[in-house]
Subunit: 295 residues, 2 copies
């Protein structure tokens, strides 16, 4: 089964459980609204790719872990969109949850999805409780305090920011969760896989910076040039478009080099390369690439 189908089926199954009677109907509907149609599902795709590279020892648990990670990501988007944070009216081309349902229901949707993420992993516990518990712990560490996405968001309320901790927690944490959880579900140690997740997260950060600098509002789906406008640190401001593009390619080369020895190492390297091609914005694709003979 293609990865996307495995992921969507696992998410759908978790949401359906949470919607069972006697669930209050509007909140039940908001849970599904928040996770569909979904973006690229990039984090769970990385998780399953790592699990498969490790041999996919426990595919049911891997699917649950992938669903949990994406559900947690969606929860963070629902809360980030709320008026007290980004006050975003639109997400993935449709009204954000607080616009479509109300602020109280958006707050509860985020809370319920965070809880559902842990429940989804724990439900498969009978067969291998140690692995499931390690997945719970890893997901918690990469989402809460002091290392997770909550910590990342928390830095935005500080007058003096630890930039390295901020980026690692805000953008990197869920990618580290993806590779670590993939390894655990695949029956391997998590730690050797942390660097791959951190580097992929870093690459996404630079790709975001490039998109912010290069694309207009229409293609971006949100106001462009925001980093420059707000004086936020941005790889393009620091290195220029060519330098930032080269940096992105270097980071991904480092990511590929960091992949631990495993049965599916080559296929995983291919997946990371394909990701790189997808995330570099079109106007920057000709930069920082080795010349191709005859091109």
């Amino acid at each position: 089964m293609p990865l996307r189908s495995r992921i969507d089926r696992a998410i759908h199954s978790a949401i359906a459980d949470a919607q069972s009677p006697p669930a209050p109907p509007r909140l039940a509907s908001a849970l599904e609204y928040a996770v569909t149609p979904g973006g690229a599902r990039i984090r769970p795709t990385i998780l399953l790719s790592v699990a498969m590279a490790c041999g996919d020892a426990n595919p049911v648990l891997a699917d649950r872990a992938a669903a949990a990670l994406e559900i947690m990501h969606c929860a963070s988007l629902v809360h980030d969109d709320m008026p007290c944070f980004d006050d975003a009216d639109v997400r993935r081309g449709k009204p954000s949850v607080h616009k479509a349902y109300s602020e109280p229901l958006a707050l509860l949707t985020g809370d319920s999805l965070i809880i559902l993420a842990f429940e989804t992993i724990a439900q498969d516990g009978g067969r291998d409780p140690s692995q499931a518990l390690e997945l719970v712990l890893t997901l918690a560490r990469r989402t809460g305090m002091p290392f997770g996405i909550c910590a990342g968001q928390g830095w935005e309320s500080e007058s003096k920011v630890d930039l390295s901790a901020y980026h690692l927690a805000k953008t990197g944490a869920l990618f580290m969760a993806a590779t670590e959880m993939g390894a655990i579900a695949g029956g391997q140690e998590a730690e050797p896989w942390t660097e791959l997740g951190a580097r992929i997260g870093e690459a996404f950060q630079v790709a975001d910076d490039l998109r912010d600098a290069l694309m207009d509002e229409a293609s971006l789906g949100k106001p462009a040039g925001q980093d420059d406008l707000h004086g936020r640190p941005n790889a393009v401001t620091e290195f220029g478009v060519e330098g930032a593009t080269q940096r992105l390619r270097d980071i991904l080369a480092g990511a590929i080099a960091s992949i631990p020895s495993c049965p599916g190492e080559a296929a995983l390297a291919g997946m990371v390369k394909a990701t790189a091609d997808r995330i570099i914005p079109e106007p920057a694709r000709h930069h920082g690439r080795p010349p191709v003979p005859g091109e």
Copy 2:
């Protein structure tokens, strides 16, 4: 060690872990603010009392479970106080978290505490992963959708309310979590302990109704007579003060009768009786009690 000390020590230890560097300082401070000084810590007290009645097979895990349950309860208070719900300026005699820190930090505090609750249980997983995982699952079911406190709160956004599901989820769920998690940490099956939690929850609901009807704003610490004012279902409106007080005593007698056979059955029954005496508001204490000779 007295239960209160065990509980406070376990909570403090969990919060201290979440505050470790590189945590953003204001969010780190808000986490501690949200769980201190704490109210009666009634839910973790019930949890530990049940674990001890079952033989307290794994006191470290029981302490972590108790801390997790109280941390989750505090998270729900932080989010409930926010402007889009109760818009409460004061909680436990000091400014609510969004008043003291800001709305974004209150939202993140709740999210971080929910995650910390699961992390706290999972951290002790090495020794008995099956028990720890069952605790994670039970806490999730009693807090998320469709049965937990999120579902309870969700019913308040519906035009047509399933009152039984609403009360069970809103007030009962964390008490059921308390008895079930106590049993699991004590090495027993959870299911036979569900009724005790449900009945204690019901008793607290009636006690709340009595307090709302009988006490003035000064003693209550919030506006009184709110149920009558908003036409909310209330045991006093339905049965009168005497009837509601008798009902509360009946429910607690039923709670005591439901305690499964276990080594510490008598001590646990004593704890439930003492709870009853504490939660019945002073003006109702002379109602519905069997006459005491010579009194």
